[in-house]
């Protein structure tokens, strides 16, 4: 444990984690009303996906344009549990078949489908949220990476899987709630999740889990596995001929990213009170990548800020000019790729950090130079090719 702590403390990233923690645990709740805070919580549930993408894409070179798959699995698992709880025979007594979710009744389904049954159990649901996304990622990853499918082909395939998944959900309205999604979620084991107090607590649960995800990511990147991840991104062949089964290393980081996305999805459902295909389709899946790109694809912390800022901008723009958003986000993505390939974190490292360091060093005794963090972009040339 000591070892683990010193490994995290030894990195410069920890200061950044503290600042982030102060921001999302203290500053935002202090400044915002509950509605705004709930909105921020929704954005922070997207941040899980962005953090996972920094691991998989930024460090591992595994670009997935289909993280909505895993966000959706986590979100739908949570929604199914909540929906079943909201569909007790008493409150659904006006239905033809009481005791099943309302949309099933509308679609002339008279018994709960088998795959809904386990979601009566909260324990199973939580287990499913933590394992199903990773399991699904393992299947996709193994199928692709063992066949050496990678890069842009992998990205396209993940995108295709998202499309298949959303079409499946929309087409099977009676089983999934269709295009409306699973709505009207009310209580979690009798605890009303719609009250201000509940939203406040859920915001904190989300924020703490998110910081946990960032710390997990930092730990993974600090190990030999983290170095191999970078090595693999830059020179896959060399890693292979150093005796590593490259496919397994890619599958693992893809699973970690999926796990994080799944948790984010479940937290989204809890805070927003519904889950629908529009949250997990192509556009959101690409937006997740843009969060990571804007924040800086080599910065776990940057991903959180990227998710917050881009989502906030989306809300602003979409309220004023709903048609405009896709153009804005496309423009932002192009601008980031062209002018700031390392996103906000890259800009910070380049322009602000030297000043901050200079300022701080006036108060500090000279000490041994801190080892360079991996957050800092290193060789542009190897990077830009990707």
């Amino acid at each position: 444990m000591n070892n683990l702590l010193s490994m995290i403390l030894g990195k410069r990233g920890l200061g950044g984690v503290l600042i982030l923690a102060a921001l999302i645990l203290v500053v935002l709740p202090a400044l915002m009303g509950i509605d705004e805070l709930n909105l921020a919580g929704r954005y922070l549930s997207f941040a899980f996906v962005a953090v996972g993408l920094v691991m998989a894409w930024g460090y591992g070179g595994v670009l997935s344009l289909g993280q909505g798959i895993f966000f959706g699995i986590g979100g739908y698992a949570m929604a199914m549990f909540l929906k079943l709880e909201a569909s007790d025979p008493e409150s659904t007594s006006i239905q033809t078949t009481p005791g099943i979710p309302d949309f099933m009744d509308w679609n002339q389904i008279t018994a709960l489908p088998w795959f809904w049954e386990p979601f009566n159990s909260l324990v199973f649901t939580l287990f499913a949220i933590l394992t199903l996304p990773a399991l699904f990622a393992w299947i996709i990853g193994t199928a692709m990476f063992k066949r050496r499918v990678s890069g842009v082909y992998f990205a396209i395939i993940t995108q295709a899987i998202v499309v298949i998944l959303t079409i499946l959900i929309i087409g099977q309205q009676g089983l999934t709630g269709g295009v409306n999604g699973i709505t009207d979620l009310r209580t979690l084991k009798g605890w009303d999740i719609r009250t201000d107090e509940a939203l406040f607590i859920l915001y904190y649960v989300n924020a703490v889990l998110l910081i946990g995800a960032v710390l997990l990511g930092m730990w993974i990147l600090s190990t030999k596995y983290g170095r191999i991840l970078i090595a693999m991104r830059d020179r896959e062949d060399r890693v292979r001929f150093s005796g590593y089964d490259v496919a397994n290393f890619k599958v693992f980081v893809f699973c970690v990213a999926a796990l994080m996305s799944g948790i984010g999805g479940a937290m989204f459902t809890l805070q927003v009170g519904f889950m629908s295909p529009s949250i997990i389709g192509i556009v959101p899946s690409i937006e997740f990548v843009i969060f990571a790109a804007v924040g800086g694809r080599l910065s776990l912390l940057g991903a959180v800020y990227g998710a917050l800022l881009v989502s906030y901008a989306r809300t602003m723009v979409a309220e004023a000019y709903p048609q405009l958003w896709l153009f804005v986000i496309g423009g932002v993505f192009i601008a980031v790729v062209m002018f700031a390939p390392y996103g906000l974190a890259g800009l910070y490292n380049k322009y602000l950090q030297p000043r901050v360091d200079g300022f701080m060093s006036r108060f500090r005794k000279p000490e041994a130079p801190v080892s360079k963090t991996l957050d800092a972009p290193t060789t542009e040339s190897t990077e830009v090719q990707r």
């Binding site: 190990t223 596995y225 830059d234 890693v239 150093s242 190897t382």
Partner: protein, 248 residues
Amino acid sequence: MSTNTDYLLAVEDLTVSFDGFKAIDSLNFYVDHKELRVVIGPNGAGKTTLLDLICGKTKASTGSIKFKGQELTSLPEHRIVWAGVGRKFQTPSIYEALSVRQNLEVSYPQGKTVFGALFFKRTEEVKRKIEEVAESIFLTDLLDTEAGLLSHGQKQWLEIGMLLIQDPELLMLDEPVAGMSVREREQTAELLNRIAKGRSVIVIEHDMNFVESIAHKVTVLHQGKILAEGDMKTVQADPRVIEVYLGH
């Protein structure tokens, strides 16, 4: 009939064709334990392809490659490395975003699985071994330098070091002195002679002065076949070798 298990590496009847072109054509090639073998030949003779076949980068059309009696042609690349074959590529193939130390650490032959790598501990043994290798490849002072900032020759050495730390029984080097200065070539020759003491080494090289300074036995490849094999003097005197290669 002699058994091929006497050799460390026995390549027999090996053929690989790319769209009908036979880059390697029914080749038989044997390397003994602790032998330093130099492979020379004109461009397109199949030298690099031979190394690609041995390390699993290219799959053979027919034939067998036996290493310590174990068939390599059916093994995935990382298993061939585990069996004890190390390969240096023609252009320096190192991780430019990582420091010299991290490059060596990534190549350390422990923690080769996902969870092995996650829970890999940088023990004293690991640190000692990294420093030992760094010294032998003349990079002790540059351990914490980003590998992308090294000179071309130093990158070549680093890649050799990354193989040394794996301690392979067979080391294959593809043009290790390409792009090196005269001084660096001398140091590399010295390094190779030192490395070759404990293991077998196959070197592909064009620089004849360098070949003379390290070669014990030379194999000349031409159009995917062996043209001549023997010690340096015999090979240099062979009229066919002069015709296709040395005469130029």
